[in-house]
Symmetry: C2
Subunit: 297 residues, 2 copies
């Protein structure tokens, strides 16, 4: 594919999600020379609108080749990039790039089928493999990647070996926006004592749908303060998530990768579970991963 | 309170919920002579509008005393009727009636605080105690009461001894209306093989927030049919609910009380869990319970 485009002279990397996107101009030296973030996720692009959206990115960051990752490769994106099955490393992803044009390539997501279940990821794979490629995490590692859908991922020999998704972020949003708990969940979430109590309750017993109603009942009966409800509820959800993640047989250290406001909550929950978290910035891992893939084109 | 109103000559019983209500005219013989159901739940009544709403009920069912149950006694209802703590039987409820007027009484809900948790019910208590009072279930029984919020209740000597709420119905609604699974969940739910598979998966492992994302991933990867998604997802949620309910140490037989379209799903899940369900019509139990309380006024 080397004849299609050469990225050695620099390129534009885009992490293009459902509701947001981040674009980076990577120069010859591999440094990020310019970047922007906005809310033009794939759901805001009208049908047939991706060529124009890509043109607009080049107007801001220069006329460079584009390497795209995330939901842009889903069936609601520009061109669908079929999932690469586990085990998947940067080489497998680079071989399966999908080319909407001569100078635009989409990195596929990764799928897992096994142990009686199926799972998919799109976007996290670049961060995960970037972390491994640069040595930020080891080639054999266990990574927690919080977001709308948290991914617990096992890396073996620098490849994504298996992973499992937990709908934690989305469940919290649903409860906050639309549920009977809505008025209790509008305040800030902090990794405070209420959060840790929620984590412990969730770790002890896998009873999330019962524990959630308890948030409301406890406030009604003056057994808990209303102010604690957002952090406690977040602790219940993240504690359940960590309890699920820790059913995998693994070493004590867990890398937690993603946006710092989320990784600090998961790190606190993992400490509460008696394990050792290492927080990593997801953006830095993304840039490392996408450059690694760019080198293979 | 006997001087306030005499219900022996007949009365109107209202099960007044958040979004719906059912009203029944009970004649001297204890039979239901007339009834109606509509969507005038408490949330549809404007502030200060309950006297008018009650007048409208009397215009339809006659100028009789009213005995009201359900969310009408909540802090969003007509007049708040404070929760009666467990253990609570019909006598405890009758003693704690709240009287917005001389000829209108509100039955309070029931609260539970113990074992490190707190819980509340409003409306189900009349059905539960009605089932026990008439012998439809024994004075010592374990009852599953599905709805927006399922209640697992332990009856001892004809009183509500303890109970626990699981947010199953509301979670299914949130997922169906607002989540990433929304487009997969629009079809009918049946207690079919897909439902039973969901129940078994949920009974085996308490990993609901992970199993829910699996619904989507399995369809994307052709590991499951889209048509099965509503029943399978309902099975996951109800299976989790039954797994939680069965952590209580109880006899093999479980009464399942409520609307028949829900009790049949829970009955199927309870069979799948190796237990014996007995389905009871919630409306019949409500009428038995509210008449029992009326006799005590």
């Amino acid at each position: 594919m080397g004849e299609r485009m050469a990225l050695a002279d620099g390129f534009i990397a885009v992490d293009w999600g459902t509701t947001n996107r981040r674009a980076y101009r990577i120069d010859r030296s591999g440094s990020c020379a310019q970047e922007f973030e906005d809310d033009r996720g794939i759901m805001s692009v009208p049908e047939g609108g991706f060529p124009d959206a890509v043109r607009a990115i080049r107007e801001r960051l220069g006329d460079h080749p584009l390497l795209l990752a995330g939901m842009i490769g889903s069936n609601r994106g520009w061109v669908e990039a079929p999932y690469v099955p586990c085990p998947a490393g940067t080489e497998e992803l680079a071989r399966a790039l999908v080319w909407p044009g001569e100078r635009e390539a989409i990195i596929p997501g990764v799928s897992y089928v096994g142990q009686g279940r199926a799972d998919v990821m799109r976007g996290e794979e670049v961060q995960l493999l970037g972390g491994a490629a640069t040595g930020l995490i080891g080639a054999d590692a266990f990574v927690c990647h919080p977001g709308t859908h948290n991914k617990w991922t096992l890396l073996r020999h620098g490849k994504i070996q298996a992973f499992g998704t937990v709908m934690t972020g989305e469940l919290f949003s649903l409860l906050k926006e639309h549920s009977i708990l809505s008025d209790l969940l509008q305040g800030p979430v902090e990794p405070n004592e209420a959060f840790k109590r929620g984590v412990r309750v969730a770790m002890e017993r896998g009873m999330l749908p019962a524990q959630l109603f308890g948030v409301r009942a406890s406030v009604l009966l003056d057994q808990a303060s209303k102010e604690d409800a957002p952090s406690y509820t977040s602790g219940l959800l993240i504690g359940t998530d960590v309890r699920i993640g820790l059913t995998w047989p693994l070493s004590a250290r867990i890398a937690v990768m993603g946006r710092p406001e989320l990784t600090r909550l998961y790190a606190a929950a993992i400490v509460e579970a008696g394990r050792e978290p290492i927080e990593l910035d997801g953006e830095r891992c993304f840039l490392a991963g996408i450059q690694k893939i760019a080198e293979m084109i």
